[in-house]
Amino acid sequence: MRKEFGKTFIKRFLSSLLTLYLLVSFLFIIIRLSPGDPTNKYVSSQLSPDLAKKISASFKLNEPVSDQYVAFLVNVIQGDWGTSYNYHQPVLRVVWQYFSFTFVFALLSFIIQLIFSFYLTIFIVNKRNRLLDKIVSDMSLIVYSIPAFVLGVTLIYIFSVNIDLFPISGLRSLDFEGMSFTSKIFDQIHHIILPLITLSAAGIALFYRYLKDNIDVVLNQTYILHLKASGFRNKIIMTKHILPNAVRPLISVAGIELGILLGGALITEVIFGLPGMGRLTIDSILARDYPLVIGCVFTSGAVMIATNFIADLIKIKIDKRLTVELMN
């Protein structure tokens, strides 16, 4: 058993690495393909043509592509992701600053999504009320259909503009430094609530749907009836048999969702002015800050691949456990 798991692990791991490699190469190709000379902005027009050429050359964009490619790969592996044209700082440092925020924000949202959808599902399943079921089902579909920018803008309008309950944008108040510790915590929460709601709403609806549908499917299967007939209590049936089966397909979806979240919740960040990976990526793309673009997209991609990989592993583990359980 262990050996099999190990083999699968290595296989998946290598395949993830390969995808990562292809991702990086693809980025390289597509940026080289794009029209326009990126160094234009960073080489002053006042320079004499010779000096301009020299500085352009320092960006190493004139060497043969294969050389550039190799140099590029070597740098990426070594951790030297170059210097951002715009920020004048090492790309790694800039990405790290923004990524730390996105990491916390995404994780928070992810946990909230899981908790809320989970409790909601349990609640609805226990109630067994067809009308309630239908209402919640339709509501969740509507919530899922609301684009993030519509939701975010509406929330701002209602809660920040009309009822002055939450701040409009930003992470903290101006007087943050001077606040007491508890005030600081409250301030952060205060600022992050609307963005969290905006970001999590669709996810909660999605998870709820998945969980509910899967539970419904499992509920109707014959072996559950068997268990019920054998006299097991509802609660035990639920926790030991239904839930694990229902949760399994959810794992891949959750993995993808987490990957996307960690890549940066682009629209939410733009609306609420949060310093996250989403905004950084967009701004760097629009500014043609190629080193930073590569750093950002690579980070998001790598994170996505990583979460998928972990989700796959979890799935395999649970599969094995289930087969063992069923056999008992």
Binding site: S15, L18, T19, L22, L23, F26, I30, I31, L33, S34, P35, L141, I142, Y144, S145, I146, P147, A148, F149, V150, V153, T154, I156, Y157, V161, G259, I260, G263, G264, L266, I267, V270, T281, I282, I285, L286, R288, V293, C296, V297, S300, G301, M304, I305, N308
Partner: protein, 424 residues
């Protein structure tokens, strides 16, 4: 809450006829005028044919044909008797709007005049229109009659012969007010009908935006863009996915492995960034947007088609078909397509909703298809700056977007359940 399909279509049709009877009559007159022109001078006639003209004529034809189509299909199949739900009704409404756009929209989506009066008006606002005696625009032209008629139908994006005003004061002198500024017009410049000045009312159903443009018309034209981009991207994704899936499943071996890796690669991309990257690098025209959105969605189709092809490959009837020398392409069409059509359709529907959402998001970020045609996303984007002054700029495109996505998602879910229950 259900309604028979035929009643719904009938209701929409009657509704439209009642509200646009004038336009429909004008359309009816336009066709013979055009033919008359063709008779006289075929060159001029041909040069006057443009997209808007064809569009309008097409809408006219459709709306006339609808009752005939209904009657004929009713007799042949019972399909129109089907009961449809809310989501399907919305989809039918969207198709209706998509095809009959020129007829439904009240004015040109880009029409903007006299901003001080018309800008940021709330829904159901009314303004007065003063009609001026304009010089005959087409005096020298032989197609005068046709051209004048055409202008009544195909609304131009500007009109020098009308002035919008808040209120009028007509006495010895003719005054009109534009946002508390009083202006005067020489008495003979106003068009008269039966001796009185021609002053009509205009109601902006859903209000106006910051440029005084009618939100209702923009919403209608925006439907076209959203649906068009959705449909086109889905077709692109379909073609790529099915083709690659077939190749991978059928040929197998190395190509299969490569294509698999390729697919995984695409799946693990943070697609929204890739889309934005490509749009930023290569420009954002309608074509690029469709292409890029199509490319981001073919992966799941690939998987479906491939697994079906692989499972079918080993079945007997394929082997026998091959023995008979059937070409690969025929194989694809005749044998495989019917099997995959249902799961693919479900997938396409979800892809469609994802693309519509993505297009709106891109327009919201300013990377949409351009300013020429309004898109719901770009309307929401412009509306953001006016959220405190003109909530209608966001609410109506927002509702349209939500309703569309909801209807499509809902329909897709239903289809999926039917499909999966069939399989059981």
């Amino acid at each position: 809450m259900r309604i028979k399909l035929i009643y719904w279509i009938g209701f929409l049709w009657i509704f439209l006829i009642i509200f646009r009877i004038e336009a429909i009559i004008n359309y009816a007159l336009l066709l013979p005028a055009f033919f008359g022109l063709m008779f006289n001078n075929i060159n001029t006639a041909m040069s006057l044919v443009n997209f808007q003209f064809i569009d309008s004529i097409f809408s006219f034809i459709i709306i006339i044909l609808i009752p005939f189509i209904i009657v004929i299909s009713y007799k042949k199949k019972n399909f129109l008797n089907k009961q449809i739900r809310f989501s399907e009704a919305v989809i039918i409404l969207l198709l209706f709007v998509f095809i009959l756009t020129p007829l439904i929209a009240a004015s040109n989506p880009g029409f903007s005049k006299d901003l001080s009066v018309t800008k940021l008006l709330s829904p159901f606002s009314k303004v007065k229109i003063i009609h001026l005696k304009s010089t005959e625009k087409y005096k020298d032209s032989d197609s005068k009659y046709f051209l004048n008629l055409r202008d009544k139908i195909i609304k131009p994006s500007f009109d020098e012969s009308i002035i919008f005003a808040d209120s009028i004061n007509a006495g010895d002198k003719f005054f009109y007010y534009q946002k508390n500024v009083r202006k005067e017009l020489p008495p003979n410049s106003i068009k008269t009908v039966d001796g009185r000045e021609m002053i009509t009312d205009k109601i902006f159903l859903l209000g106006t935006d910051e440029f005084g443009r009618d939100i209702f018309s923009r919403l209608i034209y925006g439907t076209r863009i959203s649906l068009l981009v959705g449909l086109a991207s889905v077709i692109v994704a379909f073609l790529i996915g099915v083709l690659l899936g077939f190749i991978a499943g059928y040929t197998g071996g190395i190509i299969d492995v490569i294509l698999n890796r390729f697919t995984e690669l695409f799946l693990s991309f943070p697609s929204i960034y890739l889309i934005i990257l490509i749009l930023a690098l290569f420009g954002n025209s309608l074509f690029t947007v469709i292409f890029v959105l199509g490319i981001s969605g073919w992966m799941s189709l690939f998987k479906i088609v491939k697994s079906e092809v692989v499972s079918l490959k080993h079945k007997d009837f394929i082997a026998s078909a091959k023995l008979l020398g059937m070409k690969k392409r025929l194989l694809l069409f005749k044998e495989i397509l019917p099997c995959i059509i249902v799961p693919v359709t479900v997938n396409l529907i979800f892809l469609f909703s994802a693309v519509v959402l993505a297009e709106a998001a891109l327009s919201y970020l300013g990377l949409g298809t351009g300013t020429l045609y309004p898109s719901w996303g770009s309307m929401i984007n412009s509306g953001q700056d006016y959220i405190t002054k003109a909530w209608w700029m966001i609410v109506f495109p927002g509702i349209s977007l939500i309703a569309t996505l909801f209807a499509v998602n809902s329909y897709g879910r239903k289809l999926r359940f039917i499909n999966s229950s069939d399989n059981d």
